[in-house]
Subunit: 737 residues, 2 copies
């Protein structure tokens, strides 16, 4: 929905205002509202009023309309400047062309926050973009926090307020899940699903065109918002990736999970052929890697997003992977075992003590194991209390020290539909009792249904009153549990890691980046850059004659490699500019002479000479690439060379900065890691040694700052602890202002 606009100069400084904690609190928690431009006939105005009424909003609501004196039975004012008292927020239903006037009125009437619903701005092209630039300037001048345009608004459930013109279902539950959507029309699905699954919501915001208030600003607000415990985001675009990463780090520190559904993941953004990193993995892979490295949970569906957020907002942390499972179905146990394995969860055996204790409550034909099928035939049979045998078993299992948390699948006993009064009382007594068990349990007990189903009003009320979250179905539910466990682990690691030395070891000055020519460097110039940073390079002599080439080859040792050296020939092997495995002076001389003919074929190439290097024996070859992502900045990509990286997209990515430990982790995350570890009888590669060299290469990239377009070492040759850059290709950007 959103599209980029050309920002007028004051905007960027103005926008810093939103980074001030609390600046958006009045926007999302207004005590007085105006609605501008909606008549009784407008569905949007009808919904706006009905929503506030359903929420029990207790503040004032004032209609504003240029040609009415009364709307919906309320006194109507001609403009925002005519209000008796300024309101906290104006909800603007005025048509596109009237928006500038409304903003003038808002400034004059001291209205600090507006939601602009009208479409027809930057999303429709140049004309709209100009209109939008105009209202942005107005908002900046007037100090107005504008949400939209092209935005249906927001809901604040715990605050009992909304500025939202579509229908809000009745019965939404207040809770810790905030939702930010870069698509207004998904809100309906989000609200319905949350209602059906009893997911408690804090603030739900549609972003619209993000002309003034941006996703990052709202994220900052939600990280600080005391009602919010987890933040779910549907994102089409991340504009300022670096700010986003900083905010995600703040969220981690505050113990709030950020869950992102980022679309566009399959549209590999093809960049220039030189920026190999982007071309190989796609911008989507960079976004995913960048968000993951700061602990953001990446999901692929709305259901997974909402259930994961609900679990992460729901209270007890899942501090380990050891899951105890209590179900009444062997088939569910099978499915859970498969899904647990997908998610990296463990299913340790029951302790002997637990096994002995629970046997009394199980039929003789039940197999006592984890995951447990209680084979509860008559599920409501008594145990002397209202508890079913299954619930007693779950309580015993929850005390087993073998488990970090319990997955309980006993709620499918709750009847389909409104039960009879006596049935309702029995079920309610059982759920209430089990609610107590959950509260007393030494580890979290998580409820789950077999499939993703609405709980229905009867059951939902029971779960709500006992603070029970029922995860919807094994497929999404185990995805949510996997995310929650990994999030907790990532959080612990992120908070405990004291970063290693990650500052560039060389400065731009020392590598002379200021003086670098713009464009592709010759290999000799690229080598110089890396040598400055202590990157071991394969020895090379730049020669101008066949005699010098032979002398160099003899000095460096046969077999030799010859490569033509020219900034204009980055793909030198395509023009016959690379010769490997030359065994004697005759071969070197012949190749040198042949390479002289290249300048005739490519007359525009300035040839610096020929580089002579020794040929290295076979070893493991890595690809190391640095490039600038448009949103996240300098990014490191690492992979095994050749088919691995091309056929399998086997690349590890990190946004800089990076330290040596993180580089080792990147190497270990590759699918082809067995090659590095010496599988199939090869010698293992010394990962620490590799990491040191990669770190030095990354340092060069970081030092280049905004002048880095791309830097590629391919291959980086490794044999045991010996690591050498064999080939380097650097592209430099013009000096930016």
């Amino acid at each position: 929905m959103s599209a980029s606009t050309s920002s007028p100069p004051p905007l960027d400084e103005y926008l810093h205002a939103f980074a001030v904690p609390g600046r958006l609190s009045t926007l999302f928690n207004p005590q007085s509202l105006a609605i501008v431009g909606g008549s009784e006939k407008s569905f949007w105005a009808q919904n706006f009023f009905r929503n506030l009424e359903r929420q029990g909003f207790t503040g004032t609501v004032v209609p504003v309309h240029p040609s009415r004196t009364s709307v919906f039975g309320r006194t109507c004012y001609a403009s925002l400047r005519d209000l008796p008292n300024p309101v906290d927020l104006a909800y603007v239903l005025a048509p596109t062309e009237a928006v500038p006037q409304v903003l003038s009125d808002a400034e004059a009437g001291s209205v600090g926050n507006v939601v602009v619903v009208a479409a027809g701005f930057s999303e429709i092209g140049e004309h709209g973009a100009n209109l939008q630039a105009g209202i942005v300037e107005q908002a900046c001048r007037g100090g107005i926090a504008m949400l939209g345009p092209n935005c249906p608004g927001f809901l604040n459930i715990p605050g009992s307020v909304s500025a939202y013109g579509q229908e809000i279902p009745e019965g939404l539950k207040a809770g810790g899940v905030a939702v930010l959507l870069q698509s207004g029309a998904l809100t309906s699905g989000v609200l319905k699903f949350s209602l059906a699954h009893g997911i408690g919501l804090s603030t739900v915001v549609c972003m619209g065109n993000e002309a003034v208030v941006r996703s990052a600003d709202v994220l900052a607000h939600l990280v600080a918002d005391p009602s919010t415990r987890a933040i779910a985001m549907f994102l089409e675009e991340i504009r300022d990736g670096r700010s986003f990463l900083r905010l995600a780090e703040q969220a981690i520190a505050a113990g709030k999970a950020v869950i992102v559904l980022k679309v566009g993941r399959t549209l590999a953004g093809q960049r220039s052929a030189l920026a190999h990193t982007g071309a190989l993995a796609g911008d989507a892979a960079v976004t995913e890697a960048a968000l993951r490295q700061v602990g953001v949970v990446m999901v692929r569906s709305l259901e997974e997003m909402l259930l994961t957020a609900a679990l992460l907002a729901s209270g007890p942390r899942l501090t380990g992977r050891r899951m105890g499972v209590v179900t009444s179905s062997g088939g569910s146990c099978d499915i859970i075992a498969d899904r647990a394995s997908d998610e990296g969860l463990e299913l340790p055996p029951l302790s002997e003590e637990t096994a002995t204790k629970i046997r009394d409550y199980l039929p003789s034909f039940a197999t006592v194991q984890n995951p447990l099928d209680t084979a509860a035939v008559d599920t409501m049979q008594t145990t002397g209390t209202a508890a079913s045998p299954m619930d007693v078993v779950a309580e015993i299992v929850s005390q087993d020290p073998n488990f970090d948390f319990i997955l309980y699948m006993g709620f499918n006993m709750v009847p389909f539909s409104e039960p009879s009064a006596s049935e309702a009382a029995t079920v309610a007594a059982r759920i209430d009792l089990f609610g107590e068990t959950i509260k007393k349990s030494p580890v979290p007990i998580l409820g789950m249904s077999q499939t993703c189903m609405d709980a229905g009003p009867f059951a939902r009320q029971l779960y709500d009153s006992n603070d029970i979250l029922l995860l919807g179905g094994m497929e999404f539910g185990l995805a949510a549990i996997g995310h929650a466990v990994r999030w907790d682990q990532a959080r612990t690691e992120l908070l405990s890691t004291s970063p290693g030395p990650e500052t560039p070891g060389v400065s731009v000055a020392s590598i002379g980046a200021q003086e670098l020519t713009c464009g592709i460097l010759s290999e000799a110039a690229g080598r110089q850059l890396l040598e400055h940073a202590g990157v071991p390079m394969v020895p090379a002599e730049l020669v101008q004659s066949a005699d010098d080439a032979v002398t160099a080859a003899e000095w460096l040792g046969y077999p030799a490699v010859l490569k033509i050296c020219s900034a204009q020939l980055p793909h030198k092997s395509d023009v016959g500019g690379v010769a490997l495995n030359l065994r004697d002076a005759g071969e070197v001389r012949a190749v040198f002479e042949r390479m002289q003919t290249i300048s005739q074929k490519v007359p525009e190439a300035v040839i610096d000479g020929v580089l002579v290097s020794p040929m290295r024996p076979s070893g493991t070859e890595l690809f190391v690439g640095l490039s600038r992502d448009a949103s996240f900045g300098p990014t490191l990509a690492l992979g095994l060379g050749g088919v691995w990286i091309e056929a399998l997209k086997d690349v590890a990515i990190r946004v800089l900065p990076v330290d040596r430990n993180q580089i080792v982790a990147m190497l270990r995350s590759l699918k082809g890691r067995t090659v590095l570890e010496g599988g199939r009888g090869g010698d293992p590669v010394d990962l620490e040694a590799v990491a040191d060299v990669v770190w030095r290469i990354a340092t060069v990239g970081a030092s280049l700052g905004s002048r880095l377009e791309s830097l590629e070492v391919n291959p980086l040759w490794c044999q045991g602890a010996t690591v050498e850059a064999m080939d380097v290709l650097v592209e430099i950007n013009p000096i930016s202002n």
Copy 2:
């Protein structure tokens, strides 16, 4: 739940009876029922009667109880032999120890079908297995089709009958989806989900222990059942894989999709180290490959299983991948684009004609493209008829020849809850009108919701009366569409393929398999087997002296390879029994002498001599393995050698028979196919030539019949069109009876 039992001799022949079409029709469509052993206090008996009543069962139901004269107000008989008329089916609630007596009574009373609910048979170990063997023998003798034991029963929705002791929700819809479950306790989830999503069911069967009636028998029944259009199966175990594959082929021919959720997919069944195929990929991978090759749809969740089956049972075939998408949400379009790409679906542009026509119905700010966001702000606005602009747009798009089918997401306008009478009428008029559009459409129009949600009673009734299937959510819904499109394509291919020559080119007699020793063959014996089938082998001379080794090496050409030859040393490189790249007579002699010491280190090994071969230059190396899967029989596994197969589990698998085209397809399905195709400057491998050699190797395996334990060629060396087996390892089973 099920466990294997030792079958008494008559069983296997007896079981053939169930392959007779129609044999199970009375079991699943009985006109008269007896319930044995349930009193008024039993929940199971209560549910049994209530279910039949809810279904409107019109046949007779007779209670049988040894100590009652009346149950549930009906005259009760003491045993099945005392009934005035034989019933079609007895539902047996009697306790475990009473089951043999009930079966005697059934035989005496000419009852041909029983469902045995009691547990405590083969699933609890040896004692239970003996009990089960006894009742199986009784059933066989009595000609009784027994479902169970340890089985809650089945439901036949179109037949308005069930023999099922747990609660069936009210309002289940009759339709074309049959469900077979190897876990009774999943039934509740399956029924609830089907009800919530308006999925029409035919027969739902729980299999229990499969002592007599097995999953394959029920599959055969469902393939022939006129009410059934798609068959969903939850499987823990596939006992007779070959029968299963034949039935799946019959289903394909009948136009009925089989959808399988097979659990145990992550527990790689580790077999003997020699049976490399199984160890590499796991038995789960063999099962998956075997089922896919006959067009079975493999799914991973209950929701995906049921929605896919519903779509495949619902009517129009999806005969192509080109999807037109009409939504009212840009965010949905984004998610759909990503998911479509995952599923291999295409999103071609709208034709110019379509784009022009629909523009009139869209707001000016809408972008006219596929996937289309109609930006339908006021969705119920009029178009002169009851149709909303969105529905008119969908109708126009459905006539665009660019699309094979249309995905329509306009049903989220249907209100959350029971609407007011006037609102209900408006919505109903719109849905009814759109129902007509769907019926008239030249291509299928599929409805989908944003998330996986219950439709609710109001909406469900509208969809049902218009024969509309609403796919539950974009995540599962696009999985279902992807499956349906691929199923149709697979079906077309399977039905059109005239199989190539796949009969073994050599007979067991000609390769002398009768005379083969049991156990591991020496490499010389293994080579002989392959040579018989025309497999090109690297030349090799078996020598007994250093002089002969040198003579052979000189004859075959240096560099040479020496390998010790002994049936007792299958892993010869582990004991120093392989030497590569020997450059002259001195090296050959030295290595030969060293290999003589191996017999001292491994005194139990009988050394046949030393094999001398020429060393081949580097080329592409393949792994070719044949092994016997316990369920599916001889199976071919193919992969690139080395790290590919070990680190990436990059193996293509097919159950035999196989033809050369299928082998080419297997090679092309490998992740590392770029290596074969000559990526990174290597020479491409001639896939036809490789396929011919692999087919010959497979032929040897097939010829060995049940005597094949495993046959492994590793590596199969390929350079262009030259293909040679470099090493062969064969393990032979004893002659079975």
